[in-house]
């Protein structure tokens, strides 16, 4: 069946909290990481630190040492030494090896810094959510900067 593409954004009162129950056990959970910390593979195109409404795909095979960040808005003392501070991909992999979770999805995602809120809301986020959905994760872990 042809991919229908991202659906139109749904208007929802901010007083209403969308909530999807998690059914199952953590040991059966496949986790997808989604970050707004401007993380990318080291050989991928850098984010524009002045404002960027695109996202980067990060392979589930990547380790923290394979990642870089492009940011001028959060404290870098931690990420300069250990990307797991904002993108805990090594820690998740360890939990998977130990059987505490089932694993990681094949793709993970990061956004950069942007104040273009309308563009994010109407275009970027619906398209990104569609890609996240295609990974069929058991749950998504979100991190900021």
């Amino acid at each position: 069946m042809a991919d229908p593409g991202p659906p139109k954004p749904l208007e929802l009162s901010r007083y209403c909290v969308p909530f999807t129950p998690f059914r199952g056990k953590l040991e059966e959970l496949s986790v997808c990481l989604v970050s707004t910390a401007a993380v990318r593979a080291k050989d991928d195109t850098p984010f524009d630190t002045e404002g960027d409404v695109t996202w980067r795909v990060i392979s589930g095979e990547a380790g923290a040492k394979d990642l870089r960040y492009d940011d001028t808005h959060y404290d870098h003392a931690c990420v300069d030494r250990d990307m797991n501070c904002v993108f805990p991909i090594d820690r998740l992999r360890e939990l998977a090896v130990e059987g505490r979770i089932a694993g990681l999805t094949a793709r993970h995602f990061s956004l950069g810094y942007s104040q273009a809120l309308r563009e994010l809301r109407e275009r970027t986020i619906p398209a990104l959510v569609h890609e996240v959905d295609r990974e069929r994760p058991g749950a998504v872990l979100l991190t900021g900067g």
């Binding site: 003392a77 904002v86 872990l141 900021g144």
Partner: protein, 87 residues
């Protein structure tokens, strides 16, 4: 973003260092390490034990009593950055 992912039927949990801002966004599930600053969501560099603890607590919210719209704040010791004005 988090709310949009829940709307397509995927459970989510956010680790936030800005609990007030996150609370205003009415998150489905949120963990905030108390006093931590942006860039240090999972704690100190190289402190795998602390990173794992915060990570497991965050994932644990998936199997905890639902508290949609709330931000669960927990103490994980002193903030990784103690000097003011480091953000």
């Amino acid at each position: 973003m988090q709310r949009s992912i829940e709307l397509v039927g995927i459970p989510t949990v956010v680790v936030t260092v800005e609990p007030e801002e996150t609370r205003q966004a009415r998150p489905p599930r949120a963990l905030s390490p108390r006093g931590f600053v942006a860039g240090h969501s999972l704690g100190r560099p190289g402190d795998a034990a602390l990173q794992r603890r915060i990570l497991m607590d965050a994932l644990g919210l998936l199997v905890s009593e639902p508290r949609p719209g709330e931000v669960i704040e927990r103490d994980y010791g002193p903030s990784p950055v103690t000097a003011p004005g480091t953000r």
